[in-house]
């Protein structure tokens, strides 16, 4: 348990993805089976213990400690699990420290009354950090920023292989992943990927550089499609198993029973999951309503129906099509989709274009209909095979130019790691009129990239020189009608949001330019953003 606790502790305070990968990889190297497997499963949130309840923790501490001393401690720390971990009175002659596997295995079979006893026994045997890890594990609140994606990458780093290889076998693997580790350590063969309904690692596109890439490419070699603004999914129906995967291989089927019900075929489709509205594509916000919940609510499912817009076919019956060309796969897909004949599966149409210039015009001004909601266009070589990962050359994404807005810097927060001495996270706002007719800034977003190192230094200096207030790591900077720094913000889209005071939330905002020259009062109005909402 101690090694797991140390890992959790480091992950808790580490913001950088690369550093997290190093920490997890090293842990996997140093920890034996089955502890590392159970640790990995708990980090990625696939374990839950129904018999464990936060009430047990309170009950345990109340029996051990003066309630007034506990209340003073809890008041100071503010988190129940952390407080109990810190104040738990050391017990001389306690049992041996349990390993994480012992804890997980015991919890999986324990009854509620057992859990209370086990919990107290374990707390007696562990040190403060391990007690914290135990309590967080028990209540399912690890929250140390390790996604399934990150865990798979760490496994790949550990085994010295590509992450797509992990993704390919992942769905046949179960905690504590003994077969997987045996393979990654070269002690056994690659586990079989032949699990019905398994995930096939996806092929990704590179961003195109209009100036350097396009002139070198022949338009005749490429098919073009709209780049749909949903989420990339893989829909598999194979020997009775129906699955819906995200592009990283996470099973998201539970949230989309309507889509799962429509997978009445034998094969694997690569496509975009979109929400439907009035017979066409709905803005991303509708899909967001579905993505936010793990278990669907019938009303929400009916209000925001989802469907798949198919653009590739990986498996047709028993035939793996990934080694065929895109041209061949596409014609098989068209046939496949019409055979399936489902209202929840349609075909992503090809865009007909004569040359790059013609395509550029369509991209800038898409025709009426769904294409207006596309994020840009996708280019796929007619002769491209379906390769896992992001190979250079066969597929490109050519995104539409972002929306731009001029906003005023309001708050800045310190960054992490190499940015910890810089105010590098910026909250910006646009003007709105309050009830008295005064012009005030309404915060509309936060951006922390898009600038060069040199610009970061200048921004940091501006923040330090113009601070008007401080709240912990956050500084408020002077921002009024007569003085303020205007930032040109680029973003991909706008949604209504009840969580933001301004009522709007930006997708993917970043700093496009710093407008040192522009007076604050000339920054944009909230009304301009509101008009962009559909």
């Amino acid at each position: 348990m101690r090694a797991f606790a140390r890992l959790l502790d480091r992950l808790f305070f580490t913001a950088s993805r690369n550093a997290k990968l190093t920490l997890v990889r090293d842990f996997l190297r140093e920890t034996p089976d089955p502890d590392r497997g159970w640790a990995l499963a708990s980090l990625t949130g696939v374990l839950s213990f129904d018999a464990a309840k936060p009430g047990f923790i309170r009950k345990a501490i109340e029996a051990r400690m003066d309630p007034q001393l506990f209340a003073l401690s809890y008041d100071y720390v503010g988190d129940l699990a952390e407080t109990v971990a810190l104040v738990w009175p050391a017990q001389a002659g306690a049992n041996a420290e349990p390993e994480i596997s012992e804890v997980v295995e015991a919890l999986q079979s324990a009854s509620r009354s057992d859990v209370q006893l086990l919990l107290e026994r374990w707390l007696d045997a562990l040190d403060a950090d391990s007690r914290w890890a135990l309590l967080k594990l028990l209540t399912g609140g690890l929250r140390v920023g390790v996604s399934a994606r990150l865990a798979k990458q760490a496994l790949a780093d550990f085994g010295g292989i590509e992450v797509s290889q992990i993704e390919e076998v992942w769905h046949g693997q179960h905690p504590p992943y003994a077969d997987l580790f045996a393979w990654l350590e070269g002690r056994s063969e690659k586990p079989s990927a032949d699990t019905p309904g398994r995930f096939r690692p996806v092929m990704l596109a590179q961003a195109i550089n209009e100036e350097t890439d396009l002139p070198k490419l022949d338009a005749g070699d490429f098919a073009a499609e709209w780049k749909w603004d949903g989420i990339r999914v893989q829909a598999v129906s194979e020997r009775g198993m129906r699955r819906l995967y995200s592009r990283t291989g996470d099973d998201i089927g539970q949230a989309f029973p309507d889509v799962i019900a429509a997978l009445n075929f034998e094969g694997a489709i690569d496509g975009e999951l979109l929400a439907m509205r009035d017979g066409g594509v709905a803005p991303f916000g509708d899909l967001q309503q579905r993505l936010n919940r793990k278990l669907p609510d019938a009303k929400i499912v009916a209000k925001f129906p989802a469907f798949i817009r198919a653009y590739d076919l990986l498996l047709d019956g028993e035939h793996d099509l990934r080694t065929l060309s895109f041209r061949e796969r596409r014609s098989r897909l068209e046939e496949f989709a019409s055979r399936a004949g489902s209202s929840r599966i349609d075909l992503s149409p090809l865009i007909h274009f004569a040359d790059w210039e013609a395509l550029a015009r369509l991209r800038a001004d898409p025709p009426e209909g769904d294409a207006r909601l596309a994020e840009g266009v996708m280019l796929k070589r007619w002769d491209s095979l379906y390769e896992a990962g992001r190979p250079k050359g066969p597929w490109f994404k050519w995104k539409r130019d972002p929306h731009l807005v001029d906003a005023v810097l309001m708050y800045a927060q310190r960054g992490h790691g190499k940015r910890s001495s810089f105010y590098s996270d910026y909250t910006f706002g646009v003007w709105r009129e309050d009830a008295n007719g005064d012009r005030l800034l309404a915060p509309v977003g936060k951006a922390y990239f898009g600038f060069t190192d040199e610009e970061l230094k200048q921004l940091d200096k501006f923040v330090r020189d113009n601070t008007v207030d401080r709240f912990g790591p956050v500084r408020a900077v002077r921002a009024d009608r007569d003085f303020g720094l205007v930032l040109e913000i680029a973003f991909e889209g706008l949604q209504r949001s009840t969580r933001h005071k301004s009522g709007v939330a930006m997708r993917f905002p970043r700093i496009n330019r710093i407008r040192w020259d522009k007076p604050a009062r000339e920054a944009d109005e909230l009304a301009t953003l509101e008009r962009m909402l559909k």
Partner: protein
Amino acid sequence: MTKPQTLLRPTPAGLCCVPGNFMIDPVRPVAFAVITHGHSDHARAGHGAVLATPETLAIMESRYGAGFAGTMQSVRYGETTNHNGVAVTLVPAGHILGSAQIILAWKDLRIVVSGDYKRRRDPTCAGFEPIVCDVFVSEATFGLPVFRHPDDAGEIAGLLKSVAQFPERCHLVGAYALGKAQRIICLLREAGYDKTIYVHGALAKLNALYESFGIALGPLADATTDEARSFAGAIVIAPPSTIAERWSRRFPDPVTAFASGWMRVRARARQRAVELPLVISDHADWDELTGTIAEIHPGEVWLTHGEEEALLRWAVLNGVQARALSLQGYEENEGE
């Protein structure tokens, strides 16, 4: 028995020894000050006369210059001096180099003022000596049951493990310039780390002072150089205020660590954007505070500064007579 308040009483300027006509760790200039240790909130410049250990006087001189007080009286541990009938003896407090508890003996009364103290071993200073007394005047910086400092060797092992895990990054350790920094260096040496340790300029004089008192720190170098170098794999020690400040930009992508008892509480570490909290403190933790009171078993406990409420509750539960003096002017921040 003589009432303790006739010998020692709290005043806005600090603890006043009435018959002895001196103050202990006064927060403003007075005619005669007895100083427990060299941290700046306890040892201030400008007193008429100062009595302290030779180490504490040396620290004050190094910080404030030779004329930091009118006269200085250097008193070794165990040596007793007499002031208007009050016998004053200094004994080790285990907090930092030269730190002392002050024993006041007068008539039939003995009061011990702990100053800041800790009970665990520290390679840079003499260990705390428990003294039987009528009144024990204790600090209470970490007087909450949540503060239980782990073994410092384990914390140092965590730092060295991180250095091995991230050889391309530099480890920037925030540590108070007086006491904590030198203790961290010694602990690193004890753990077998023999490479050059880079230090912020604010540490240079104090490091030299520690070495002059026979505390070997091993190879050190100034971290503030114009020379372009990567510091990859290096350990740099600097005052806490500098680790997230502009000075730290010379280090590419550092792992920021902070050695303090406050790091025990996650929110505190998060607040300072610390990536590697090191729970290493020069103050007694909850178990040390309560254990010391139980061991000395004084007639009465007075708490000077810190988290007093929980200790008062503990005293009630354990039948110890205690009261809080709530002295002002001593920083909540550990040390300084």
